[in-house]
């Protein structure tokens, strides 16, 4: 049975009609047009669909949209301010941490969840924080450099 719910995405409240089996990932991309959140494995293995809910990095492919009602959802679209990229996004550009780009939104959000809690993480802490995000292009080194640089810049 369809239900009317409110989803708060990047501070904007959307009223949507959803069926219970729809995942947050599907509703973000297909109903609300937030296509920056990527669908890859759709089974919790790859981290491409990572969003932040109430301050924690989670997988939108394993979250039911109806259960995200009333929570603060942050997606990649909420990171930049106008034309100014978020420092993490800028660091990814500066350090060449992007190749095909498909894993990038998920990685940036995992990095944001980390840096919001721990602005100056060690390399080991950065590695742990992105342990659930797969990148098949870069070999990760430049991604680690970018997140570390973004952390240093925030201080």
């Amino acid at each position: 049975m369809k239900r009317i719910i409110e989803l708060n995405v990047n501070g904007v409240v959307h009223e949507v009609v959803v069926e219970p089996q729809r995942t947050l990932l599907e509703v973000l991309r297909e109903t609300l047009g937030y296509t920056g959140t990527k669908k890859a494995c759709d089974s919790g293995d790859c981290g491409a669909c990572t969003v932040i809910i109430d301050g924690r990095a989670v997988l939108s492919c394993l979250t039911l949209a109806v259960e995200a009602q009333g929570k603060n959802i942050e997606t990649i679209e909420g990171m930049a301010t106008g034309d100014r990229l978020h420092p993490i996004q800028q660091a990814f550009l500066d350090k060449g941490a992007i190749q095909c780009g498909y894993c990038t939104p998920g990685l940036v959000l995992s990095a944001k969840a980390l840096l919001d809690e721990n602005p100056k993480p060690s390399r080991e802490e950065v590695k742990k924080a992105i342990g659930g995000n797969l990148c098949r292009c870069t070999g990760y080194v430049k991604i680690l450099d970018a997140i570390e640089a973004a952390g240093e810049q925030a201080n």
Partner: protein, 328 residues
């Protein structure tokens, strides 16, 4: 996913009444295993009963006797971060720190982790294996590198939990409720190996719910360790793991629990190995003997003999580290 109804439960008794009224209903907590199973067609409940809307089910507290009481929908991440857990039950934090990925630890719950379905390539894939009504276990004589080496009855799939062996090493129990009664079940008798006449993975009835996980206070100076062998450094299920809790008085071992993960359909208690150590002074030679005893009775299949060596090595290393640390 097949369409289903989704109901927000308002209380434990409400959730239990819904379970009873709806034979095709199931509880959803973190959903990390359940939704994956549903996407793969391995579970197709008609009703999902959301228990995250029930107040107080995510508490972490100590009771008057100093036992740790964990609410069933406490996420793995919150449990691992809890100051009391880090102080007195470090084994739990250690086990969680190597479980799944950060995102999954932020979502997955304690009771959901304990109740997760087994891992096997045939079961999770598109094969008519024993668990899906097939005649026999396909891993026997087939791809068996991830299969169990102990305790398989008719299925060689393993219980993949990291948290469950750690909880067992601490002597934890689960408090279960149904409409009529509340009972406490030691985790040691909670898990079951699936068999033809008893297909489940735990003793949890279909109209029952875990309402609490209880971890007894450990003796002063008791220490634990969780070691996990993985095919890569992160986000991987255990090839084998060892959860060990050791208590000593002076030099002698007063109590020890050794639980192996990823090697059997249930978290596997190495009781005979514990008996070798209990009451003794843990010398290097004795630790060797304990580790060898821990894998007594193993029956590896064609491709998983390496798990016998891994399990033995983890027990040996874990005990050596615990003994070293408590000396300093």
């Amino acid at each position: 996913m097949r369409p289903f109804e989704h109901v927000d439960a308002t209380s434990v008794s409400d959730a239990i009444a819904l379970l009873k009224a709806e034979p095709d209903g199931t509880i959803i907590a973190g959903g990390t295993d359940l939704l994956d199973l549903m996407k793969d067609g391995l579970a197709s409940p008609r009703v999902l009963i959301n228990v995250k809307t029930i107040d107080g089910l995510d508490r972490i507290e100590a009771d008057a006797a100093g036992h740790l009481i964990i609410g069933p929908i406490t996420t793995l991440a919150r449990l691992a971060e809890d100051a009391r857990v880090r102080q007195d039950f470090l084994l739990l934090s250690e086990a969680i720190s190597v479980t799944a990925s950060p995102q999954l630890r932020n979502m997955a719950t304690v009771a959901g982790n304990v109740c997760q379905r087994p891992r096997c390539w045939y079961y999770r894939g598109t094969f008519d294996c024993f668990l899906k009504g097939g005649n026999s276990c396909l891993a026997v004589g087939g791809r068996s590198r991830d299969s169990g080496i102990f305790g398989a009855a008719e299925c060689a799939a393993v219980n993949p939990s990291d948290l469950a062996p750690a909880l067992l090493a601490l002597g934890a129990s689960v408090v279960i409720e149904n409409a009529k009664r509340r009972r406490e079940v030691p985790l040691e008798s909670f898990f079951t190996a699936p068999q033809k006449d008893r297909p489940g993975f735990t003793v949890l009835g279909r109209d029952e719910m875990i309402v609490e996980v209880k971890v007894p206070k450990q003796p002063v100076g008791s220490r634990g360790i969780y070691l996990k062998a993985m095919e890569r450094k992160t986000w991987s299920f255990a090839q084998a793991s060892a959860a060990i809790q050791l208590s000593r008085a002076e030099a002698r071992v007063t109590d020890v629990r050794i639980i192996l993960g990823g090697v059997a359909p249930v978290p596997w208690r190495a009781s005979a190995a514990e008996d070798v150590l209990r009451g003794k002074v843990p010398t290097g030679e004795l630790i060797e003997r304990v580790a060898a005893t821990a894998t007594d009775g193993a029956h590896p299949l064609g491709q998983n003999g390496y798990k016998v060596k891994l399990a033995k090595a983890l027990v040996k290393r874990g005990l050596a580290m615990l003994v070293d640390n408590s000396r300093s």
